[in-house]
Amino acid sequence: MAAPNQVKRSVSLYSLQEEYYYGRLDLEGCLRAVASTGATGVEVLAEAMFPDFPGPSPAFEAQWFGWLAKYGLTPTCYDAFLESKLYRNRVLTLREQVAMTERDIRLAARFGFKTLRTLCSTPLEVIEGSLACAEKEGITICLEVHAPFALDSEWSDLYLEMIRKTGTKHFGFMPDFGMFYRNMPPIARAQALRKGAHPDLLRRVDEAFAERVEKGFVHIRYSLDLAAANSAYRRENGMFDLKEKLVPLGANDADLGYLFMSYNFTWNDPSVVTRNIAHIHHTHAKFHEVDEQYVDATTPLPQVLAAYVAGSYDGYISSEYEGNSSLNDALPVDSVEQVRRQQEAMRRILEA
């Protein structure tokens, strides 16, 4: 990388879910593992790993800061989930959703975080209603730009407009590298084959993906009806048309699962990061596999990181390993080694 840069590296504990699930790593073990990968920051899903969420004890709080000191880690991002469908008979009201977000903002601040990830499904009004609390607590709310959502889209413009309108300094974006998948992860294709998919049909799915990469994706739009918005996105990008072609060719569940999964990732020119850098405060380096030569066959890390450096980004890029689910039906998972490889890959690029 040409110039020295201020990009910092973190790991989301989402990455270690396989080891946590089986009890091979507890929370302290996860922190130790993160430190071992070379990252200096840690991102958490408090709902997954903080005991007694949403009311962790003062004793746990003390332990948490003790562990951070012990392993030399800085808390980066607190991943919030807005459980707006907590009840069957209704969606939480705006006031309830704001209260839940404020609860998470206060928890994030209490545990030393500076940013809070909010999901791409978060209504504009909920974010706007939570800004005062975020400002008071010194937290920046970051809207995750998770594929198929995109920057420089009608959807992201609505949030930019809210930033302009309120003048807030406590809200911005955090890209997820699922928007920088140039092709399907090879381990996902291998898993589909294990499950009985047809190589020629997978090739059709891959070709369609390549075509979308070439021609550009139709972006998903803002809607409080996620299922409708997502279905429209899939339709407009040809998924249902392709499905209709594959079914007569004998597509089975494995083929169709691969087809469906291929619409969970998108490709955007990484320059979109540079253009929006003033509003980017955190990042998820989502990935499926980094090989022994420190290459990610899906996401062109050098090109993507160059876009951050070009924008003089000084926030964290946080590993988000998701490959476990493409392996754990049949193969061993080593999340720590995968994260170590991605961290090393990023270090080499950033320190070159």
């Binding site: 699930y21 969420f53 907590l86």
Partner: protein, 129 residues
């Protein structure tokens, strides 16, 4: 889906007032951040291919016991990620000693997902004679 869904040591008979009432098993939720019970839309259990009545099911978590209807408002009880919860099947009778086949479908609705998560898992287990 994780490979190990059921607790290999979690199968046992349930008695009420000294009489056979059913059986129970341990299970982990197939969702990476745990869940308040209220967003678990459904649990379905099959024993040896026979679907158990929904009213017979109980979710036991953190010391609380809920029917599936009661679970609809159990917003403060989290089934934590990676922790065994218990499902009781109070069918009113004890399954016979020996080998059995268990199936269980979890339907979970995280609020941000466009569609619910539906995971089906099966296992063989043996009840002591």
């Amino acid at each position: 889906m994780f490979q190990q869904v059921f607790d290999p040591d979690g199968f046992s008979l349930v008695e009420r007032d000294g009489k056979p009432a059913g059986f129970q098993f341990g299970m982990k939720l197939q969702y990476y951040r745990g869940a308040p019970l209220s967003i678990i839309l459904d649990l379905e259990v099959w024993l040896d291919g026979v679907k158990m009545p929904r009213e017979a099911l109980r979710a036991v978590n953190r010391g609380d016991v809920f029917t599936l209807v009661e679970m609809e408002t159990a917003v403060d009880n989290r089934w934590e990620f990676g922790r065994w919860g218990t499902v009781q099947v109070l069918s009113g009778a004890a399954p016979a000693p020996g080998p059995h086949r268990l199936g269980c479908t979890q339907t979970i609705r995280p609020s941000y997902m466009p569609w619910p998560i539906v995971v089906h898992a099966e296992t063989d287990f043996t009840l002591p004679g």
